[in-house]
C-alpha cells in the first residue's frame, strides 16, 4: 500500500520509452502479450496452489468433517488424483479451455455455473462503488491541491488517510452498528418483494447502500491522494502562468488547463489498482452477505471447497490482469506526449 505515496512517479516510470515509427502496434502487442503470459501464469499457479501445494487435496477438503471411504474415493476419482501429476495438469488445462472448472464440492453444481450466477451482483456493487469513489476522489483531490494547506486540504487528506488505514470489514461493521435498522445488512433482496422490475430495483438499491458506502470509503482515498499529488506537480508549470497571464479566471485555469493534465496518471491508476478494489469487495461482500464473487470466495475457503476456490481465484486474478492491460493501453491513448514520440 505504500505505493500510493509516490504514484505519479511510478506511473510515469511505467510509460514506455519513446520509440520512432511503428511503436503503437508494437506497444499494443507487447502489452497484450504480457497480459496473456500473466494469464497463463495464473492458470499454472491455480494448479500449483490448489493441487500440488496441499499435498493431498482430498485431505484438505475433508478436514474437520466426517467423510466416508466412498466419498473420498469419489472425490479422488473426480479430481483425477489417481493419475500422475503431469497428466492431471493437462487434464486441468484441457477442461479449463472448455470452460469447465470442475464441480463445486459444497454446492454440487459446476463451478462455472456458480461463478456466472454470482458475477452480476459483484459487477453491480464494484461498478457503482468505483464510479462514486472516482468521482469523489477526483473532486476532493482537485480541491485540496488547489487550496493547498488550507483547513479543507488538511481535514480531507487526514480523513482519507484515516479511512485508508482502517480495514474494510471493520468499517462495514461500524456502519452496520451506526445505522442499525435503517438499511438491510444482509443479502441483496428480500424474498417477499414483488417480482416487478421497479420494486426489485428499489429493494436492491436499498440493500446496496451500506456495502457501497463501505467500498467507496476504503477505495476513494487513493484516488484523492494521487489526484492531489499529481495536481500539485502541475501547479508550478509554466503553462499555468501563461493561462493566468492571458487573464483566465482561476476556475477556468483549473478546469481547462491543470486538471486535464493531472488526470492522466489518476485515470490509469483507477484501472491499475483494481486488485485493491477486488480485495475490498471480498471483505465487503462477506460482511454484508452480498451474494457476489467475494462471498463465494469466502464460502469456498470456509468449506475448503478447492475446485470452487480455484475458479474464483482464476476469475478474480484474470479480471485484474485484463484491467491492467487495459490501463496500459488507455495511458497511451490518453497521453498525446507518449503517443507522439
Amino acid at each position: 500500500m505504500s505505493d500510493i505515496l509516490t504514484p505519479t512517479e511510478e506511473a510515469l516510470a511505467e510509460a514506455p520509452p519513446p520509440k520512432r515509427g511503428g511503436g503503437a502496434l508494437r506497444y499494443l502487442l507487447t502489452k497484450v502479450g504480457g497480459g496473456l503470459v500473466s494469464l497463463a501464469l495464473v492458470i499454472v499457479l491455480g494448479f500449483l496452489l490448489f493441487r500440488v501445494l496441499p499435498g493431498d487435496p482430498v485431505l484438505t477438503m475433508t478436514r474437520g468433517r466426517p467423510a466416508s471411504k466412498e466419498q473420498i474415493a469419489e472425490l479422488e476419482a473426480q479430481l483425477g488424483l489417481d493419475k500422475p501429476l503431469i497428466a492431471q495438469f493437462f487434464d486441468y488445462l484441457w477442461r479449463l479451455l472448455h470452460g469447465d472448472l470442475g464441480e463445486s464440492y459444497v454446492f454440487r453444481v459446476p463451478v462455472t455455473q456458480k461463478i456466472l450466477e454470482r458475477l452480476g451482483p459483484t459487477l453491480l456493487l464494484v461498478g457503482t462503488a468505483t464510479v462514486i469513489a472516482v468521482a469523489l476522489g477526483l473532486w476532493l483531490g482537485t480541491r485540496s491541491a488547489w487550496r493547498r494547506d488550507t483547513r479543507f486540504d488538511r481535514v480531507s487528506t487526514s480523513v482519507a488517510l484515516a479511512l485508508w488505514s482502517t480495514p474494510t470489514f471493520f468499517l462495514g461493521l461500524l456502519l452496520m452498528a451506526a445505522t442499525s435498522g435503517w438499511f438491510p445488512t444482509a443479502g441483496m433482496v428480500y424474498s417477499d418483494t414483488p417480482p416487478d422490475f421497479f420494486a426489485q430495483a428499489l429493494d436492491i438499491a436499498h440493500h446496496m447502500v451500506l456495502p457501497t458506502i463501505t467500498l467507496v470509503a476504503v477505495v476513494y482515498a487513493q484516488y484523492q491522494l494521487v489526484m492531489r499529488s499529481s495536481l500539485l506537480e502541475e501547479m508550478g508549470a509554466d503553462y499555468l502562468t501563461t493561462a493566468r497571464a492571458k487573464g483566465l479566471r482561476d476556475d477556468l485555469v483549473r478546469r481547462r488547463h491543470a486538471v486535464p493534465n493531472a488526470l492522466l496518471p489518476t485515470v490509469t491508476l483507477v484501472f491499475l489498482h483494481m486488485g485493491f478494489v477486488v480485495a475490498g469487495a471480498i471483505t465487503t461482500e462477506t460482511v454484508f452477505s452480498w451474494p457476489g464473487l467475494g462471498l463465494l470466495t469466502y464460502d469456498a475457503l470456509e468449506k475448503r471447497d478447492l475446485p470452487l476456490l480455484t475458479g474464483t481465484f482464476i476469475v478474480l486474478a484474470g479480471a485484474v490482469i485484463v484491467m491492467n492491460v487495459f490501463a496500459d493501453i488507455l495511458y497511451r491513448v490518453l497521453d498525446p506526449r507518449v503517443r507522439a514520440s
Partner: protein, 298 residues
C-alpha cells in the same frame, strides 16, 4: 590520524544525527513514533502487567457480553473474557505478524530488486517479469489461496502476507539501485577489481538501505491490515489463547456483537488497528521526507 574506518563510522553517526534532527522537526512523525513506542512497550510487557490465564475460555470469570465495568473496563466477550486483556494480547500477535511479514516482504523485494538492477539483461528481464506478474495479481486473493491450503497458524499468515506483498518494494529498490550503479564511485570500485559481491554489499546495499528502511515502516501498517483481514476471514491462528485484533473482530462479527449492541467488543480491536497503522504511516512519511528533500515543504 584517524583510521578510515573510524572516519566512516563518524560520518555515519553525523548523517544519522542530521536525519534525526530533520525527523524531529516534523510533529506528526514524532507523534507517530511516540504512539508506537507506547504500544510496543504495552505489548512487550503484557505478560508482566496481566495474567495470560485470563485468555483461557474455560477459566473466564465474567458473564457473556458484559458491558464495561470496574472489573472489566472494556466489557467482556461472548465467553466472558475481558476485552481489554484480549486487545492487549492481540497487540502482541498483530504487531509480531506485522513486523515479521513486513521484514520478509521487504527482504524478498530488496534481494530481487538489487539482483535485477545489478545483473541486468536476461536476469533483470526474468525477475522483472515475475515482479510484474505478482504486482498485478490481487494480493488478498493470493494470500487467501495460500493460507487456505497451508496449515493454519502464525507462520502461514506471515508467509502468505510476505509472499504477496513484496513487488512494490522490488521495483523501488531496483530503480534506486540503477541510479546508484550509474555513479562514478561504483565504476571506480569495479576498476579497482571489486567483484559483484563486493559492489553489492559494500556500495549498493548501504546506499539502498535508507529507502528500504522507510519502506519497511510503511509496509508494517499494511501487513497489519492484511493480517487482520486474513484473520477476519478465518484464516488466522485458530488458537483462542493467541488472539489477534483481526480474530477478535471475527468473533465479534460471528457472535453478532453488532446486533447485540456490544460496541465495547467491536470498537477496541478496530480502533487499535487504525491507530497503529496510522502511526506507522505518519512515521514512514516523516522518514520519507527526511530522505527525499523534494518532499520537504516550505
Amino acid at each position: 590520524m584517524t583510521s578510515p574506518r573510524a572516519l566512516a563510522w563518524r560520518r555515519r553517526g553525523d548523517a544519522l544525527a542530521a536525519g534525526w534532527r530533520q525527523f524531529a522537526r516534523q510533529r506528526s512523525g514524532l507523534f507517530g513514533l511516540g504512539l508506537l513506542v507506547l504500544i510496543v512497550l504495552l505489548a512487550v510487557f503484557a505478560p508482566v502487567l496481566t495474567d495470560r490465564e485470563g485468555l483461557n475460555v474455560i477459566k473466564a470469570t465474567g458473564g457473556p457480553l458484559e458491558s464495561p465495568s470496574w472489573e472489566f473496563p472494556l466489557g467482556t466477550d461472548r465467553q466472558g473474557r475481558s476485552v481489554l486483556l484480549l486487545t492487549l494480547w492481540g497487540a502482541r500477535m498483530s504487531l509480531t505478524v506485522g513486523f515479521v511479514a513486513a521484514l520478509l516482504s521487504i527482504g524478498i523485494g530488496t534481494v530481487i530488486g538489487i539482483l535485477a538492477a545489478h545483473y541486468g539483461k536476461w536476469v533483470s528481464a526474468g525477475l522483472m517479469r515475475i515482479t510484474d506478474f505478482f504486482l498485478v495479481l490481487p494480493s488478498l486473493v493470493l494470500a487467501i489461496a495460500l493460507s487456505t491450503v497451508l496449515n493454519p497458524g502464525i507462520g502461514t499468515v506471515i508467509l502468505a502476507i510476505g509472499i504477496t506483498s513484496w513487488p512494490p518494494s522490488a521495483r523501488l529498490v531496483r530503480a534506486q539501485t540503477l541510479t546508484i550503479e550509474a555513479r562514478p564511485y561504483i565504476e571506480r570500485s569495479r576498476a579497482l577489481g571489486g567483484g559483484h559481491l563486493h559492489v553489492i554489499t559494500k556500495h549498493v546495499l548501504p546506499a539502498v538501505l535508507p529507502l528500504v528502511f522507510v519502506n519497511t515502516t510503511l509496509a508494517v501498517g499494511s501487513a497489519i491490515v492484511a493480517e487482520s483481514t486474513l484473520s477476519f476471514l478465518g484464516l488466522g491462528d485458530p488458537n483462542p489463547m493467541r488472539p489477534s485484533w483481526g480474530s477478535m473482530l471475527r468473533s465479534a462479527w460471528l457472535d453478532s456483537a453488532v446486533i447485540a449492541g456490544a460496541w465495547w467488543y467491536l470498537l477496541p480491536p478496530g480502533i487499535a488497528i487504525a491507530i497503529v497503522v496510522l502511526a506507522f504511516t505518519m512515521c514512514g512519511r516523516a522518514l520519507e521526507s527526511v530522505l527525499n528533500p523534494r518532499l520537504r515543504e516550505g
